[in-house]
Symmetry: C2
Subunit: 367 residues, 2 copies
């Protein structure tokens, strides 16, 4: 198989790359909006196209529960199901299953847990997680890993690493959907030694990309930044590098500066629904009474569909009376903010001025 | 003032007309989507433009409660507030206030009631209802009327008519916003004699249009149809005729055939949110399990944004997992269905073939 990823430019540790998928090219660094249940909450696939999104994340666990991976396969796969012609990355379901503390049982073969929908007993193994992702037909499938909590002891971290490595071998031994790429996941908590050790193990397997998992799970941002700064530059240079579930705008610029290529996070979409709207260098809370009389947009000069047409006062009204339209308009703005931030970082890498870009965006303190 | 309405074609009692407003022309017959709280639920103003909507209805009572008419005025009026450059009709708030059975007190000067938001005491009079609508800056303001329940006695109906007439005189005596049209409302329940009597009174005042109120408030459809068939043809021929709060696709064709020009109803938007999706001659319920595996669209050949791109199976999934996107996609389809139905009726009137059109649409039984 030809190499689907090329690095086109570098700026310090940061890289600008191009990832070829079954459903088109993806320029990196890239932010992937989260479409847990085969929809980026409140947005249609046409909205995502208008935002120039090239890849979204969908959730293996949620889709396996509802509507079911076989049904999605029978309907032509996830792209056809959600009417999304561009790339899709599916997580392996591991993160959701391991989040069910006290309700799941891990053994060396896999995990037994309960459906959050009807409480029915369910089981995921490396083989079944990959089979579900093959049924969904995603462009990138993630290996099934064990994600320990942020306060896990060194012993727990080590056992999770060992199990994740054994499971990773089983994942690469399965048959993917035609053209489907597969990424391995590095665990090891905040321990730099363990991270480096596990990276070496995962990088030795035949994955098409490598991800950092088990970060942004409750540890302080500085801890996460330290791991990313230390580990990202040591990840295989020829493969795409993916930091899972991260993060704030500042987190993204730290990670991009350290050589991470791919991100997903519910932050822009979830924050939008909760009233937190990103502006350069910070955010506003639309629940604040001051916005009820503000004729200005969320951010002056922002070219997003929401800012071009609607005032803070209107958004504040929709938010207060809980109108459905609020969620879409807020999500459009926050996603635009994230996508523009990362695209701007890509341009800055190509132009050799990423450090200046971080300052311009008002995020120099954290980054 | 020049006459803002002209009848361009007739077919039996039915008319095709053109209504000029402060915010553009409106071809009639016309269906006005309901935007109670300054948004047609789940849709952005751009969505309405794409649906070729020319006029929406907004709710005086709800907007007076939140965000307040003075605030809307200070922000440049309702058009600027909701970023909607086309026409707006505001109801007078009477219907909502009179629906608060047991919680409101009517006297000859107006109505005292309680806010549904915080329970605070509120008062509406003909003068204040028109002042609020002037603050909102709608293109068409409705007179403040008393809307009796469908089971009201003849005495109650008569008292409501008399009060509505006195209030109508006070409404026309107020100062409208510049260019704002004002419509009177005919009451009289299902009593054809009372309806005719009240029509004569309201038609004698200097309104720019006449509406039938107090229908579709719980009476059988046949009763409502009988009133419309009898009264609509006797409404002033030179003014737009508006049937408030009606109705099903069959109701619309009955009323158009009888000479009604304007409609509003929550049915297409509310039914969409509840899973009822209109198709030619009927509807489907997306909650029905059979749709979970259906790759076909809501209606084959339907040119709406939803049917062009999404399957019933995807909509059924979104509905079951309560994803926000469902509400928008379903609303887009149902509104398209209503708008296309009424636009088709207009073309049929112009072409002198309205009765054939009613048969083609599969609604001959009711109409």
């Amino acid at each position: 198989m030809s190499v689907p990823f090329v690095v086109q430019a570098r700026c310090g540790d940061a890289r600008a790359g191009l990832l070829q998928t079954n459903h088109g090219p993806v320029e990196t660094p890239v932010f992937m909006p989260v479409g847990t249940q085969a929809t980026v909450k409140s947005l249609a696939s046409g909205d995502l196209e208008a935002l120039e999104v090239r890849i979204v994340l969908a959730n293996t666990y949620h889709l396996a529960m509802r509507p079911g991976a076989r049904l999605v396969r029978d309907l032509g796969g996830l792209h056809a199901f959600m009417a999304w012609p561009r790339a899709i990355l599916t997580d392996s379901g591991g993160y959701q299953v391991f989040s069910q503390k006290g309700r799941r049982k891990i053994d060396d073969d896999g995990v037994t847990f309960h459906s959050h929908v009807d409480g029915s007993p369910q089981r995921l193994t490396p083989e079944s997680a990959m089979a579900i992702q093959a049924d969904l037909g995603s462009d990138i499938a993630m290996a099934f890993d064990e994600c320990p909590p942020s306060d896990a002891s060194r012993d727990v971290l080590c056992r999770a690493m060992e199990r994740t490595t054994r499971w990773a071998r089983r994942c690469v031994a399965t048959t993917p959907a035609p053209g489907q790429l597969r990424f391995g996941i590095v665990q090891g908590g905040a321990d730099l030694g363990l991270r480096a050790e596990h990276l070496a193990e995962i990088a030795g397997l035949s994955f098409d990309g490598v991800a950092l998992g088990g970060l942004s799970v409750g540890e302080p941002p500085e801890t996460m930044h330290a791991v990313v700064r230390e580990i990202a530059p040591r990840m295989p240079a020829e493969l795409p590098r993916y930091l899972m579930g991260v993060g704030t705008p500042a987190d993204l610029l730290v990670a991009i500066s350290s050589g991470i290529d791919m991100f997903d996070c519910v932050m822009p979409t979830r924050a939008a629904r909760n009233g937190r709207l990103f502006v350069r260098g910070g955010h506003i809370n639309i629940a604040n009474a001051v916005h009820c009389i503000a004729a200005l947009p969320i951010e002056e000069g922002c070219p997003c569909e929401t800012c071009r047409r609607y005032s803070r006062a209107y958004l504040a009204h929709l938010f207060r009376v809980k109108e459905i339209l609020y969620y879409r308009l807020a999500t459009l703005h926050n996603l635009h903010h994230y996508l523009a931030l990362v695209r701007g970082a890509r341009r800055a890498i190509v132009e050799g001025r990423l450090p200046e870009y971080v300052v311009e965006r008002g995020l120099a303190g954290a980054a």
